[in-house]
Symmetry: C2
Subunit: 340 residues, 2 copies
DNA sequence: TTGAAAGCGCTAACAT
DNA sequence: ATGTTAGCGCTTTCAA
């Protein structure tokens, strides 16, 4: 690997001059510049960013901590963040935690050791265990939270307006004539799950319907739960005519349950789901869903983080960006009215 | 951010001693060690890996160049690589190229500047344009190719045995009594697409059937192509009774085409697909598919790369690891239908 | 405009 | 066993 020194020697100039042409400094003699450029090419010289980082005290690297890249929600998010990062000359380093706080701590520690300039964080569900996050911020590493907001911390964030998204979706179900609308929620430890439930309740309240606890089930965002709880709901004395599922994986479980019980969607029961699955518009039934602007969350999050990193965003209080979800109405809720 | 010097001062020892306890060097006086550890805790000291990297001439970072994380094939691959990297103390930096050679070059250049210790590469389709890859290897940066093999380069690689996987799959179709088996291939520029076709041909040859060009269509691994080409095939004078699709996205297009033509699978036509979609066993029809050991490819690839990086793998000639695909037989190719 | 040199935080070789 | 120090490759004063 060629060094700046070797380049300087070959071009017969000082390292300072090489450095100047690299950062295309205003005044360098064109002749020297040409010699330097030639030397760089001849030696296949790639400036050592490690050495540079040490000197300038910034790595131009961003950390990103997510739960599991294998979950279809995250790739878009990561891609968004990476696109923004790259556009600003930053590199993105990702870290999977599988939603375990221990691994989140480890990730933060490693990332701090690597001197990343900032981190994008999708917090793992942790009942108030956030000292590691606070410590990182205290050490001067900016953090922007994506999607979920950690409890008890003032921190920048970018997320979807889950309340409103859910509300709009349930409104849609109501507008289709449904009155007995069941909901399968996520784990109530998660803010996002709470918000989605809140939106559901708000929509019902608007319609002057009372919330029936029999129509509510708490799940955990996984397929099995959706499957089990849907069956459960279908065995009720009075069956719901519509089902609002709190995330995509559970909706798949719900569909499986319908198949097993020979019920058809939307004829026998309508289904709407928070989160758009990549294939929601490909497989039958095409699912009505609340699509989050996933790529945008990642993109905006990274941009905000970079602003903080570069000191261009100096608001003392945390910035909280809320993005709108988009209701995609598909066949799973659009059959003609069902009489209750 | 605390430095090693500050820690030394606070613990009343020399920086050398601090360095020793950090690398838990054999002999350090337990008393001093305790003092150092205390100082580290008090100062929330995280050793600067940037400085360390500069000194020891290795970053413990691996680059990974993929086409698009948003494509459902990659997350598992990345996760596998990351799991292996982390287990060995390496960090993974990913880079999306959208299959464009220009971006692949850029990625390689950036990664070299960052002084990654090695790179995992899923090559973009490039007709022989591989000087950037050769130059990187010549500069002493080990490369391991995943999934696809670049043309005209001797390089370590880990991939699925596409030929065999396709062959086994088509054999299965034959065993179900099919004789007119159509295939929608990927872009013939890609080695993987060629291999899958080769497996198809091999299976037919075994069965002493001749290859009918009318049963072959070249696609591009995207949904639209699958949709269009399937329709095309169904309009033939003699319709195929089975269809082997070269990847998951195109299979979805094929299913869409069936729906539109009111044909049912597998009653009217069987479908088998190379690549397992995340939801292949969830949505109907459950698709018979050739599942690649995706996580394992990533994992083994990273392990191999790390061996090269650490000089534990010194074989001069490239190592070429071929992993077996697994045929998952589901309802899309099995005679009797589960529901109408 | 260009060159010389200090110093970023760490490791490792050497001195004590 | 512990301390001292050179130097990794770069940027950035400061001098010439």
């Amino acid at each position: 690997m060629a060094t700046i020194k070797q380049v300087a020697k070959r071009a017969n100039v000082s390292v300072g001059t090489v450095s100047n042409v690299l950062s295309d400094s205003p005044q360098v003699n064109p002749l020297l510049r040409a010699r330097v450029l030639a030397a760089i090419r001849e030696l296949d010289y790639h400036p050592d960013q490690v050495a540079r980082s040490l000197k300038v005290r910034q790595t131009k690297m961003l950390g990103m901590i997510i739960s599991d890249i294998t979950n279809p929600f995250f790739p878009q998010l990561i891609r968004g963040a990476e696109d923004a990062a790259l556009a600003h000359g930053y590199l993105l380093v990702t870290f999977n935690t599988d939603d375990r706080v221990e691994r989140e701590k480890q990730a933060l520690s490693v990332l701090r050791g690597r001197r990343v300039d900032g981190v994008l964080l999708i917090v793992a569900p942790a009942k108030g265990d956030n000292t590691h996050i606070k410590a990182t911020m205290a050490a001067g590493v900016p953090i922007v939270c994506l999607d979920r907001l950690p409890h008890g911390i003032q921190v920048d964030s970018v997320s979807t307006d889950h309340i409103k998204g859910a509300q709009v979706c349930v409104r849609h179900l109501l507008s289709q004539g449904h009155r007995r609308i069941a909901m399968i929620t996520g784990s109530m430890e998660l803010q996002t799950a709470q918000d989605r439930l809140e939106g559901y309740k708000a929509a019902l309240k608007e319609a002057r319907l009372k919330i029936d606890p029999e129509m509510l089930r708490e799940g955990d965002f996984r397929l099995e739960a959706g499957h089990r709880l849907t069956k459960d709901l279908l065995l009720q004395r009075v069956r719901p005519t519509a089902l609002f599922v709190s995330n995509g994986m559970m909706a798949l479980g719900a569909i499986k349950a319908l198949e097993e019980t020979q019920l058809s969607c939307p004829k026998d029961i309508a289904i709407a789901v928070f989160d758009d699955l990549p294939l929601a518009g490909v497989y039958r039934p095409y699912l009505t869903s609340v699509a989050q602007p996933t790529h945008e969350i990642g993109y905006k999050g990274a941009e905000l983080l970079i602003q903080r990193v570069e000191g261009k965003m100096t608001s003392a209080k945390p910035v909280r960006i809320l993005l709108e979800a988009e209701l995609k109405i598909r066949e799973s809720t659009t059959a003609k009215l069902i009489s209750p």
